[in-house]
């Protein structure tokens, strides 16, 4: 079954061309000399230079990174707690409501989440600023973190925790010394997921950001509404570059770790 028919080769080629060509075209045109984005007028990096001088974009980038770091960190802590409660917490009053609140934001249209949070912030008189975006992003990303972490918690051997408890660990020490190292990869990927979700978000940030705190997606959106611009192409290329490098290095690191683990397990098996 491992021979690929021409049909399968064609679907793979066309499929991946469809997934990647638009971004490749975007990257190529970011190096276009001409202001007219559709006419090729020679290679140039001048749009990158202009981008670096655009204060508004740089400010927005700074706000975006601040929001992403803060919200993904809070979301990782809260999401891991929530996952632990869901998988190990046993029964408690309102468990169904709790798990409902974890899963609902995953399928909620962003316009509704954004609208509802904005109405809350206005209702309690909280000025819209970096803080409100962080609160909003933490809330929806903690649910993604908790899904990622709870799937790891469900598959690992609970007797390891019980052994630690039997050997005299407090439940917090058992979590810190046994559970946390085992679920660490899931916690890290949860953090990365929360970080990218926050970097990416336009709709919820538009509702919850005030005039003093504009994020990069909001800036990009208001610029591209007027049409394609070479500066935005350059900015997109930088963002695509960062993500590509990040994802590829993360996958290499996890591959190396799993190889090392395999070797260690083999060595342990031999020693026994």
């Amino acid at each position: 079954m491992n021979r690929l028919s021409w049909f399968n080769v064609t679907s793979l080629t066309l499929g991946f061309a469809f997934l990647y060509l638009p971004m490749v075209i975007l990257v190529i045109y970011s190096f276009n000399e001409s202001k007219l984005v559709t006419v090729w007028a020679g290679f140039s990096t001048k749009w990158y230079g202009e981008l670096l001088q655009n204060e508004a974009f740089l400010d927005a980038a700074w706000v975006t990174i601040k929001v992403a770091v803060l919200s993904s960190t809070f979301a990782t802590v809260l999401g891991t707690m929530a996952a632990y409660v869901l998988v190990r917490g046993g029964r408690f009053l309102g468990r169904t409501v709790f798990s409902g609140m974890i899963y609902a934001p995953l399928v909620m249209p962003e316009v509704i989440t954004g609208l509802s949070l904005l109405l809350l912030f206005i209702g309690i008189g909280l000025d819209r600023d970096v803080l409100t975006i962080v609160l909003a992003h933490t809330t929806f990303s903690m649910c993604y973190v908790s899904v990622v972490v709870s799937s790891r918690l469900m598959t690992f051997d609970r007797s390891l925790e019980e052994a630690a408890l039997d050997l005299g660990c407090s439940s917090f020490d058992a979590f810190r010394l046994v559970t946390l190292p085992i679920i660490a990869p899931a916690v890290i990927s949860g953090w990365l997921l929360a970080f990218t979700l926050s970097l990416d978000d336009l709709v919820i940030a538009s509702f919850t950001a005030g005039p003093s705190a504009t994020t990069l997606p909001i800036k990009i959106f208001s610029a591209v509404r007027l049409g394609v611009s070479p500066e935005i192409n350059a900015l997109s290329t930088i963002m695509i570059g960062i993500v590509t490098v990040g994802v590829i290095s993360a996958s290499l690191v996890s591959k190396r770790n799993s190889l090392r683990q395999q070797r260690e397990e083999q060595a342990a098996a031999r020693a026994a």
Binding site: L19, M23, I25, F98, I102, L119, T196, V243
Partner: protein
């Protein structure tokens, strides 16, 4: 005590920032627009009695009477349904070919499908603006090949919205179908062929039914977010593209009618509950089948 804190912290957070905001949306959907800050009435400052007395279903009656909203909901449902179907047509062959690819390729292929997820959604939609516009890449290419003699108008039409939805959501379709096909026992297809099925019949009678769960899961994963989509219709769609996410946005930001925007949100939520419950059921059934 520790356990209590562990449960209470995320619980209270979600109550305060997820559930309470919804109750507020629901409440405001029953309020009236007012020229004040905040721009609706009543507020709790009016006292409890008058507060509840002033709530009514006027906004919902308004939505029901105004043709625009009906058409927006209907057109969102239609666009979401059509693009889900098209995404299935695009995604299935890719997932199928991935599952047939040599074992050592599969992790790389998987990563190539997932990689776009990590790239900004907004940028992926924006990339199509440069391709689909009148002087865009696609038109230039088609003019150059001589297939067309006048540039096609694609950007700012529903076609562009379909393309945008397929493009951004096709990984959601590919992954569940791939995982269903990956588990499929190849000998079943060989058995069908030995018993006289043509390849096409074997595909239709064996492969498709056995990947049914993946197809259903993938379709919901595309349909549910597509229904409330805002970025794609507002960047790729035209003035004729009616989608409810866009209507809600405009009602809120342009018309500043918060009560009507809230009512639009409440109805969108009610519409979404049905596919969400069906999706949950499908996932549960699948989990039980595997167990």
């Amino acid at each position: 005590m520790q356990r209590f804190a562990l449960i209470a912290v995320p619980y209270v957070w979600l109550l305060a920032l997820f559930l309470v905001p919804f109750i507020i949306v629901f409440k405001i959907s029953l309020s009236d627009i007012a020229l004040s800050i905040p721009p609706y009435t009543p507020t709790l400052e009016d006292g409890f009695g008058p507060f509840f007395a002033a709530l009514d279903f006027e906004n919902f009656a308004f939505l029901a009477s105004d043709d625009l909203y009906w058409r927006a909901y209907a057109s969102s449902l239609r666009i979401a349904a059509i693009s889900t179907f098209l995404t299935l047509l695009v995604g299935y062959p890719i997932a199928y070919a991935m599952a047939r690819a040599p074992e050592e390729w599969r992790p790389t292929l998987m990563m190539l499908v997932i990689l776009p997820f990590w790239t900004s959604f907004l940028i992926r939609v924006y990339a199509w603006m440069g391709i689909l516009s009148q002087e865009g890449f696609l038109n230039q290419f088609l003019l150059w090949t001589g297939i067309i003699s006048d540039p096609l108008m694609i950007l700012n039409t529903n076609t562009a919205v379909y393309i945008g939805i397929i493009y951004t959501y096709v990984p959601f379709m590919i992954l569940p179908i791939f995982s269903a096909l990956d588990r499929l026992d190849g000998s079943l297809i060989e058995a069908a062929e030995d018993l006289g099925c043509s390849r096409l019949q074997a595909f239709w009678l064996v492969t498709i039914p056995l990947s049914k769960n993946g197809i259903i899961a993938g379709s919901f994963l595309v349909f549910i977010p597509a229904l409330g989509e805002f970025v794609i219709p507002s960047l790729l769609g035209g003035s004729g593209t009616l989608m409810i996410g866009k209507v809600l946005w405009e009602e809120f930001f342009n018309n500043r009618d918060w009560p009507v925007a809230s009512a639009v949100a409440v109805i969108l939520l009610l519409i979404l509950i049905i596919p969400i419950i069906l999706f949950q059921r499908n996932q549960q059934r699948q989990a039980e089948e595997e167990a």
